[in-house]
């Protein structure tokens, strides 16, 4: 019995969530009185194992097979580790790659799955906290099962940085190649181009609240008046109103300007992940409960169609 956490890496680097998974895993392992095992699959596993030799980890299992993430390999690796360790909880990241293998692992092992957990507790069974309705509410979810699979949201647990001295064990996996029916053929940087929003000192960022493409002009005029660079949240880029290199957030750029002015952006977790490091955050939004106000330093609760032109006027 143990807690098993599966690390996340891409193109040679462990991703931040791996260190957060160790924290979440250690907390659960302590509550359960069990060991914490960490697995790392594919890539330079020996080097990853060193990085994962962290406080509270009892054993790191390395699965040396291939370079990059392949969900067919991950599923087989976690299945095999599960049958060797019979962990009480299998912890996986709620990253894009986590979304690509965790549900298959859970289904294949017959474990109930709780995804995108933001807090976890073990008391006679797993209780997870999850958000719903686009982060407007939190829910408590209880799982009535002896063993469970969980994916955890990035940025919710403090990363474990203190080193430890776990055992490192090479896990011998025989991959059934007939079950590998997908192939990664390459990677592409899609946010390039003439503008690098991560270089800007002042960003005026526009979101869904702008409603129509022709209204973008209002925000462009403000950015011009302020000498700021224009950026956007995901829906604006999805609609094709601005190019991908203007997108702030998890799947776009991470920005840390001196001033970030969010116009009509509600502040979904994926967006906040890309801008929470800004020095000063200012939000203009009609919804006083919008999560953007939770991280803002200054705010105006009001209609951007009134406030933005008035603000532009102040700098003319």
């Amino acid at each position: 019995m143990s807690v098993l956490a599966v690390a996340d890496h891409r193109r040679g680097d462990l991703r931040d969530v791996s260190y957060e998974l160790v924290t979440a895993g250690r907390e659960l392992a302590e509550a359960l009185g069990e060991e914490l095992h960490v697995a790392v699959v594919s890539g330079d596993v020996e080097s990853f194992a060193k990085d994962l030799s962290l406080d509270g980890v009892d054993t790191v299992h390395t699965v040396d097979h291939g370079e990059e993430f392949n969900h067919d390999v991950y599923v087989q690796a976690v299945e095999a580790l599960d049958s060797a360790l019979e962990p009480t909880v299998v912890l996986m990241p709620n990253s894009v790659n986590g979304l690509d293998y965790a549900p298959a692992v859970a289904s294949s092992l017959g474990l109930p799955l709780v995804s995108d957990a933001v807090a976890l507790e073990w008391d006679d069974g797993l209780t997870a906290t999850r958000e719903m309705y686009a982060s407007k509410v939190e829910t408590t979810v209880e799982v009535d099962a002896d063993r469970v699979a969980v994916t955890v949201r990035g940025g919710e647990w403090e990363p474990t940085e203190d080193t430890g001295s776990p055992a490192v064990e090479a896990f011998d996996l025989t991959v059934d190649e007939s079950r590998v029916r997908s192939r990664v053929t390459g990677f592409e940087e899609v946010a390039g181009g003439d503008v690098d929003i991560s270089d800007a000192d002042v960003l005026v960022s526009v979101g869904r609240g702008i409603e129509e493409e022709e209204n973008l002009e209002l925000v462009e005029e403000l950015a011009d008046a302020l000498g700021a660079t224009l950026s956007a949240s995901r829906p604006i880029v999805d609609n094709g109103w601005l190019p991908k290199n203007r997108q702030v957030g998890q799947s776009g750029k991470v920005v840390t300007p001196d001033v970030y002015l969010a116009v009509g952006i509600s502040g979904a977790v994926q967006h906040v992940a890309g801008m929470k490091g800004s020095d000063t955050i200012i939000a203009i939004n009609t919804d006083p409960n919008a999560p953007i106000f939770d991280i803002a330093d200054y705010g105006i609760v009001g209609d951007l169609f009134d406030v933005v032109p008035a603000l532009t006027e102040q700098f003319r």
């Binding site: 999850r130 719903m132 407007k136 509410v137 899609v190 001196d258």
Partner: protein, 262 residues
């Protein structure tokens, strides 16, 4: 080939709302087609127009009310629809991804599609796991978070949208389940002609019994025990007043920070 696209009607909460028990009170909820599914439907319809798909069928799990939403998918070019529901399903929480996947699995067994498209996640519960769980259950290959799709012989060439502006290029053997990310295409508006035609398209209602399942299918080890509004941690300075007044106050803060100086 036949394409099956899963769709879900989701509820969106108003800015101000109240919670009643384990859900937002119904008067604060508005129903619409899940945003991700709009893109999945468009991708499926385009496969029909490109000559890849002979038939595009959509499936939903939902009460009779959802037929209005499903009709919109039909108006955009989906050929016919299946709606799975009965009282036992209505009485279950349906938080358990495995339950939903088991219902969809039964539909897949009847329809025998070559490709299944789903949205990456639903805007209400946000589990983001139904598509990949379904793939595992039905023995299809899969790819999650797809934002570009091309079919070539028996392979789907896809881009997966990773974090940080990076896309992964992946080849996926068919038959497959692909979970579709927003932005992959531009979902069309239904034409008046499409809306008229949709009135005569079939929405077949299937119960657990029709699918060869029983009430045990919807028994789940996962249950919600509380819903609440998160405590706001905001310590933002909120400027009060009309647009003009708040703009003046904000402008002075911005100038202090050196913004807008020539």
């Amino acid at each position: 080939m036949k394409v099956l696209v899963t769709v879900k009607e989701v509820a969106e909460a108003a800015d101000d709302f109240e919670i009643d028990g384990l859900d937002i009170a119904p008067e604060y909820l508005e129903y619409d087609l899940n945003e991700w599914d709009e893109y999945a439907v468009e991708a499926a319809v385009q496969l029909g127009e490109d000559g890849h798909a002979d038939e595009v069928v959509s499936v939903t799990i939902g009460p009779e009310r959802t037929e209005e939403t499903i009709r919109m998918a039909l108006a955009k070019g989906v050929d016919r629809a299946i709606r799975v529901w009965d009282d036992d399903i209505g009485g279950a929480g349906l938080l358990d991804v495995e339950t939903k996947a088991e219902l969809l699995e039964a539909v897949v067994a009847e329809e025998d599609p070559d490709l299944v498209l789903t949205g990456v996640q639903a805007n209400d519960d946000g589990f983001g796991a139904t598509g990949v769980t379904l793939a595992e259950r039905i023995g299809f290959e899969w790819a999650a978070v797809v934002n570009d799709l091309e079919l070539e012989d028996a392979v789907a060439k896809v881009h997966r949208e990773l974090e940080g502006g990076v896309e992964e290029h992946t080849e996926v053997d068919l038959p497959a389940v692909l979970t579709i990310q927003t932005g992959i295409n531009e979902p069309r508006y239904a034409s008046l002609r499409g809306i008229r035609q949709a009135q005569s398209k079939e929405i077949a209602h299937q119960t657990l019994a029709d699918l060869g399942l029983d009430a045990s299918t919807v028994e789940s080890p996962i249950g919600m025990t509380a819903m609440y509004e998160p405590e706001t941690e905001s310590d933002a300075t909120i400027f009060e007043g009309d647009a003009e007044e708040t703009a003046v106050k904000l402008a002075s803060v911005l100038r202090e920070k050196g913004v807008g100086a020539e």
